[in-house]
C-alpha cells in the first residue's frame, strides 16, 4: 500500500469516527433496549470501536507522521 493511500485511509477513518459518534441517522428516534435509548447504545459501542481504531493506529502508524523512528 502506498504511503499516500495509507494516509488517506487514516484521514477517512478519523472523519468517519468523529462524524458517526452521534447516530445522526436516528435523529428523533426514541426506541429503547435493555433500559437505555438505542442511540445511546450506538454511542457506547462506537466509543469501543474508537478505542480499537486508536489502538491499531498506536501500534502501526503512530510515528509515521512525526518523522521519528525510535523514541
Amino acid at each position: 500500500m502506498s504511503r499516500r493511500i495509507r494516509t488517506l485511509g487514516w484521514v477517512v477513518t478519523a472523519t468517519v469516527l468523529t462524524v458517526f459518534s452521534v447516530p445522526w441517522f436516528w435523529w428523533g428516534d426514541s426506541r429503547t433496549a435493555v433500559g437505555l435509548p438505542l442511540w445511546l447504545w450506538w454511542h457506547i459501542g462506537w466509543m469501543g470501536v474508537a478505542t480499537v481504531v486508536f489502538a491499531v493506529f498506536a501500534r502501526t502508524d503512530w510515528d509515521r507522521y512525526m518523522g521519528v523512528e525510535d523514541v
Partner: protein, 500 residues
C-alpha cells in the same frame, strides 16, 4: 454524629489526605523549575491519564452536567463523547505528541515558550501567555466561587461564602506551593480512581432501588418521554457540533492541559493514554449524566439554584455516602484549580516575568518565584470572587471559546514549516479580536433590505461564533504566512523532530 459534622469531617479528611500526598511529593522533588512544573517529564500512563482527566472534569461532571441532563435529557453524553472521547484524543496525538517530541528535544516548559523560540519572537511568547492568562484567571475564579458556594451549601450556611472561599484558597496555595506538578498529578490520580468507583456505586445503589435501568427508564418514559428521543430544540445538531468542537479544541490550549503534553515519561505513556481515552470518558460521563436524567423520572424536585445529583443521592443512598460524593466533587473543583494555578504561574513567570522583567532569573530561583506566583494568583482570584464582577464571570464562562482560538494557529505552526511569525501574530490577534468583540459587544440588529441581520451575536443560525473565529484564525495564519517571508531569527527546524 450530626449530618453536618459528618459532612464537614469528610471534607476536612479529604483535604488532609491530599496534603499528605503533597508532602510526600515535596520530599521526592528536586528544587528546579522543570521538576516543579513538569515533575521532570517522568509521569507514567496511569498518572498522566488521570491527572489530565481530573483536570478536565471539574464541577461540570457532578453538578452542571447532571443538571442539564435533568432538565434537557442525556444527549450531553454524546457531546462529551465527540468532544473528549474522539476529538480531544485525536488532538492529543496531533498536538500533544508533537509537542512532547519537540519538548523532549528543546526542553520547553510552556506553549508560549515553544512558539516564542520557534518564531524568534519574545512578543509572540508574551502575547500567547497574556491571552492564556486573560482567559484562565476568571476561570479559576469561577472554580473558587463554586467551591465556596458548595461549602456554604454543605454547612447549611454556617460557613459564610467568603470564609468557605478563603479556606479553599488557603488550602490550594499551601498545596500547590508544596507539591508542584508531581503532587498535583498524584492526588488527581487517587481522586480520579476514587470518583470513578464512587459514581458506579451510586448508580448501582439508585438502580437497585428503582428496578434496574429498565425500571428507571420506564419511569422516565412516563414523565419525560422526550428525553429518550435523540435531539430536541435544545440539543440541535448545530449545538452538539459547536459545543463539541469548540470545547474539544479549547481544552488543548488550556495551560494546565497543554502543559501535560510535556510531562509524559515516554512515548508509550502517551500512546496508552490516547487509546484508553474514549473508554474513560464513557465510564465517567454515562453514569453521571444518566443519574441526572433518571432523576427527572423518579420525581426528584430540584429547588432553584440547587444541584440534582446531591438531592438524588440523599434520597436513595445513606447520608455518609452522599457526603462522600459531594466532598469528592468539591475536591474535583479544587484539583482543577490547583493545576490551573500551577500552570498559570509558570506562564507568568517564564513567559512574561523572565523575558520582560528579569532575564537573569535562574532555574532554582524561578521555582521559588513560581510558588510566589501561585500565592499571588490565587489571592487575586479570591479577592475578585468576593465582589463577583459580571464582566469577569462572562470571561470565565467563555474561556473555552477563547482558548479554542489558539488551537488552529498552533496546529498549523506545528506541521507547516512555511508558517511565519507575521502569520502567527495575524491569526492569533485576528481570531481573538473577532471572538472578544462578539462576547463583549451587545448584539445589534441591522436591516438590510427586507432581512434583519444580527451583528455581534454569540450564535448565527445556531452555530457558535467561536467556530467562526477558529476558521478565521486558521485562514489568517496560512494566508499571511504565504504573503510574508520568515524573519532571519525564525527557526522552522525547531519543530522538525530528529533534526538535531
Amino acid at each position: 454524629m450530626s449530618e453536618l459534622t459528618l459532612q464537614l469531617a469528610i471534607v476536612v479528611g479529604y483535604l488532609l489526605v491530599a496534603l499528605l500526598v503533597g508532602l510526600v511529593a515535596y520530599r521526592v522533588s528536586t528544587n528546579v523549575a522543570e521538576d516543579y512544573y513538569l515533575a521532570n517529564r517522568s509521569i507514567g500512563t496511569l498518572v498522566l491519564l488521570f491527572t489530565t482527566f481530573a483536570t478536565l472534569l471539574s464541577a461540570f461532571t457532578f453538578f452542571g452536567g447532571p443538571n442539564i441532563a435533568y432538565e434537557q435529557g442525556p444527549e450531553w453524553i454524546l457531546v462529551m463523547g465527540v468532544m473528549d472521547g474522539v476529538l480531544f484524543a485525536m488532538l492529543w496525538y496531533l498536538i500533544g505528541y508533537k509537542q512532547w517530541l519537540v519538548g523532549q528535544q528543546q526542553g520547553y516548559v510552556t506553549l508560549s515558550e515553544m512558539l516564542g523560540d520557534r518564531f524568534g519572537s519574545p512578543r509572540l511568547r508574551g502575547l500567547v501567555a497574556a491571552i492564556s492568562l486573560f482567559w484562565l484567571f476568571p476561570y479559576i475564579m469561577l472554580q473558587q466561587m463554586g467551591a465556596g458556594e458548595a461549602l456554604t451549601g454543605l454547612s447549611g450556611g454556617v460557613i459564610p461564602y467568603w470564609a468557605g472561599a478563603a479556606l479553599i484558597t488557603a488550602f490550594m496555595i499551601l498545596y500547590v506551593v508544596l507539591a508542584g506538578m508531581r503532587g498535583v498529578a498524584w492526588t488527581d490520580t487517587i481522586q480520579g480512581l476514587f470518583m470513578l468507583s464512587v459514581v458506579w456505586i451510586a448508580v448501582a445503589w439508585v438502580l437497585s432501588a428503582v428496578g434496574g435501568p429498565s425500571g428507571a427508564t420506564a419511569a422516565l418514559a412516563e414523565s419525560n418521554p422526550e428525553f429518550l428521543t435523540l435531539g430536541s430544540e435544545y440539543y440541535s445538531p448545530q449545538y452538539i457540533i459547536s459545543t463539541a468542537v469548540v470545547i474539544g479544541f479549547g481544552v488543548t490550549m488550556f495551560p494546565q492541559i497543554n502543559q501535560r503534553f510535556f510531562v509524559a515519561g515516554s512515548a508509550r505513556v502517551l500512546k496508552r493514554s490516547f487509546v484508553l481515552w474514549p473508554v474513560l470518558v464513557l465510564l465517567l460521563f454515562v453514569p453521571t449524566f444518566l443519574l441526572g436524567t433518571w432523576a427527572a423520572g423518579l420525581g426528584i424536585e430540584v429547588p432553584e439554584g440547587a444541584n440534582v445529583l446531591p438531592i438524588l443521592l440523599s434520597e436513595y443512598t445513606p447520608m455518609w455516602f452522599a457526603a462522600l460524593v459531594i466532598a469528592g466533587a468539591m475536591a474535583a473543583m479544587m484539583s482543577s484549580s490547583d493545576s490551573m494555578l500551577l500552570s498559570g504561574s509558570s506562564y507568568f513567570i517564564r513567559d512574561l516575568y523572565r523575558p520582560f522583567v528579569d532575564p537573569t532569573l535562574g532555574e532554582r530561583r524561578e521555582a521559588w518565584l513560581a510558588r510566589g506566583g501561585v500565592a499571588v494568583f490565587a489571592t487575586a482570584t479570591f479577592v475578585a470572587s468576593l465582589s463577583r464582577p459580571g464582566t469577569l464571570i462572562e470571561v470565565g464562562n467563555t474561556a473555552f471559546g477563547g482558548f479554542a482560538q489558539l488551537t488552529l494557529p498552533v496546529l498549523v505552526a506545528l506541521y507547516w514549516q512555511s508558517t511565519t511569525r507575521d502569520g502567527m501574530l495575524a491569526g492569533i490577534v485576528g481570531s481573538q479580536l473577532l471572538y472578544l468583540s462578539h462576547v463583549f459587544i451587545p448584539t445589534l440588529t441591522v436591516e438590510i433590505g427586507a432581512t434583519v441581520v444580527p451583528l455581534f451575536a454569540r450564535t448565527y443560525g445556531g452555530w457558535d461564533i467561536a467556530l467562526g473565529g477558529m476558521i478565521l484564525g486558521a485562514l489568517l495564519t496560512v494566508g499571511v504566512s504565504l504573503l510574508t517571508t520568515p524573519a532571519a531569527d525564525e527557526q522552522a527546524s525547531r519543530f522538525v523532530v530528529g533534526s538535531d
